[in-house]
Amino acid sequence: MKLKPEDLDKISQRMKATTILREGAGRVKVTVHMGTCGIASGARDILGAFLKHIEEIDAKDIIITTSGCAGLCSHEPMATVELKDEAPVKYIDLSVDKVSRVFKEHVMGGEIVKEFALAIGSERIS
């Protein structure tokens, strides 16, 4: 094991500081669906790819989080990208390469990558 307790404390403090900084000012929210189906399909790598892109440009206005199964298990791994004041867009069957395009074109460029998108909007649980 290379990870030490102080490493986790540092990560927590750094992310908390960033969260405080961007509270109310988040330009984009990215949610990676981390239900059992998502994790089994590779959601950890998808999350890692988004985090890598965010870290590369040192973005402070992108909120990244996780949620449970979105109810479309056969289309995992999935992520939802939500630009401020715009409808969320759900991306399906993601790969690390697809994440690169979604990040560049949608998260940073504001243009939906339609060929990877399932739908615009949020799921409803009745």
Binding site: P5, L8, I11, M15, T19, T36
Partner: protein, 138 residues
């Protein structure tokens, strides 16, 4: 699930969904006893005895709108297939402790995988959670 680190991520996400503010992950790789011990403990909402029993049923979930709950049954199955055991201790408002053991040399034991990566991801996406991670190799 390809490896045990993904099961750990899945169970920890359950802990977060159960409002845990603290998650402790302990892994003991004991080559003298040919035993891999994995423990995930949280201080979340916990479960009563009946719910603990039902949690092993893949067609039971406490999440609204869902019909299956696969995370715990899959980890239990992985432990059994790897020659080990699985146990849950929980009580309402008292948190939950899951213990999965594996025979290290068992041919059907899944690899441990990238537990460091799992723990880092959890801390990066949930900085509000106090994560404790201990790995012991004997």
């Amino acid at each position: 699930m390809q490896d045990i680190s993904l099961h750990i991520l899945d169970i920890a996400e359950n802990s977060i969904a159960a409002a845990a503010s603290r998650i402790e992950i302990t892994i003991i790789e004991d080559w003298e006893r040919d035993l891999l011990y994995v423990e995930i403990r949280d201080n979340g909402t916990g479960m009563d005895e009946e719910t603990v029993q039902r949690a092993l049923n893949p067609f039971y979930t406490s999440k609204p709108g869902k019909r299956v709950g696969l995370g715990i049954p899959l980890l239990a199955q992985a432990a059994r297939e790897g020659g080990g055991s699985f146990d849950i201790e929980s009580e309402p408002d008292g948190g939950t402790k899951l213990i999965a053991t594996f025979v290290l040399s068992h041919p059907d034991r899944k690899p441990l995988g990238d537990v460091d990566g799992t723990v880092q991801m959890l801390q990066l996406t949930h900085p509000e959670i106090k994560l404790e991670y201990e790995f012991v190799r004997k």
